[in-house]
Symmetry: D2
Subunit: 167 residues, 4 copies
């Protein structure tokens, strides 16, 4: 049984539609419901709901909290998947990369362009890919989405294309 | 084969999630895709995309266009289903009721609290119900949603409950 | 609040895929899960799981049990929806029609050509239509599927077309 | 742009429900529809529909055809994903492993316990995982399903558990 830490930080992947406001918002975490759609007979998924923010609203203090939580988890080493808004995912990843040394497992940042459960969502694809990547990638910090694996220092978001590209 | 007119006016039922803005908006009509999920072997669905507006932004002129389009269709009489934002659906329905006389078929207004294709959406349920109601209700103007049938002069939206109730 | 009785008798609508045998079978009732996908704020759905049979295997005794259950429910009169295999749905419906008199509400038989939850399934459409029909049809025994309403003595299944047609 | 060959051999993943027979069968390939649900902006998926068989009915000649097709593709080397029935997936994989030398990319066998598009299906998960694995695994022959990666000579199907396990 492979333990995989999942830390949720919010972002589009977790947004829900509010019937009262008619907007999509980061309200309740819904990622657990989607994990239940996957078959993970050999994985122990340990989810920590850290925050639920649009990543454009994440502050330096928020990013430091992500780093602290990863450090806490790595006391008992295992792969880490972080769900995160795409707009500042790379920024958080670079902070992790520059502050964590001697990693023994991969740390994977993922998210979505369209929220989980909305037609055309890429959320479940990205979660599925990230959990597989968590098992097979070498130690390092990565962005995994859309069938692509990027080391975090080689990637940038292309807003127009609505995806990540090499930099 | 029963002809059923469908006139789309926008509203939440047709909203789409925009990856560029991160909001839900009335952009492209998507109702035709959802009709294709239904089996309608004895129905000829004639769809007219009239407008695609949040119903809070509909003007008197917009409502007059809806009325004119219904009149145009009724030259060749058949049931009419109008998809419409819920916030002013009753207002449009009352305009139809007071301006159309000697109806031979029902006119049904429907919509959704959550857009078609979003998790938990009531859109396909309401469409399905409205197409069935179009065949079996007597002549008149109705709101049909959530397994309820309301004559348009007996209904109001309850924003807090996110549904229609008797008035 | 409108009470609606639902009596489940099995049929394709309730079939599940068995990973052990690789076949679809009538094993566990799953209709309740699908009711939860519908918004029914003004309906009290009272479900009775009577049997779970492929309707080609239903015997005269089984049909008599359906009749007895409907009679039992009608002691406290309300509309009745019966989910049933399509192959002998009409046979059961005719039995009900000839044995029940002075009906005050409609009795609706429905089912599916493809099981609930399988791609392209008509099951949820037919359930949705039947629950709406239960509210608005006059007293009588009907088959409701695919946006059509048939009095039970006017309908037959067309196996080649995979649907019901007028007789 | 990464080319990935996909060779379809049938199996549960491609089974469809037949309304005429009431059984699930290998009739038409449906995998292309499911690829369209995935975002693969940097992958060129080259699909070859080789056969569509329940893997219990695959003969030695069938397995030789799979091997020949893989050889043909590897003339222009790229990763290969083979969708295949689970019952004899390992047998086909072992044939590939013993007959292909000097692989430069991974060859991945995958399938499903429940057909694509049926409620609870693992098919899209397994496809998603396999396409990611195709990019990141070292050369070799693997079974990839359910968030697990097995070298083909280390795996067996456990019918009771309805999944693959280490041997």
């Amino acid at each position: 049984m492979q333990k995989i830490y999942v830390i949720t930080a919010g972002g589009t992947i977790e947004k829900v539609y509010s019937e009262q406001t008619g907007n999509v918002q980061n309200l309740d975490s819904k990622i657990d419901r989607y994990f239940q759609m996957l078959r993970l007979p050999d994985a122990e998924i340990a989810v920590t709901h850290l925050m639920n923010k649009d990543s454009l609203e994440m502050t330096d203090a928020d990013r430091t909290r992500v780093l602290a939580m990863v450090r806490e988890k790595l006391a008992d080493p295992a792969p880490v998947v972080i769900t995160h808004g795409t707009d500042t995912m790379v920024e958080t990843g670079l902070l992790l990369q520059s502050n964590l040394s001697e990693l023994r497992y991969p740390i994977i940042l993922t998210g979505a362009m369209t929220p989980l459960g909305f037609e055309g969502s890429d959320g479940l694809q990205n979660l599925t890919e990230s959990l597989l990547a968590a098992r097979v990638l070498p130690a390092g910090v990565y962005v995994v989405m859309h069938n692509q694996v990027f080391p975090v220092d080689r990637v940038r978001k292309d807003r127009e294309l609505a995806r990540f590209v090499w930099k």
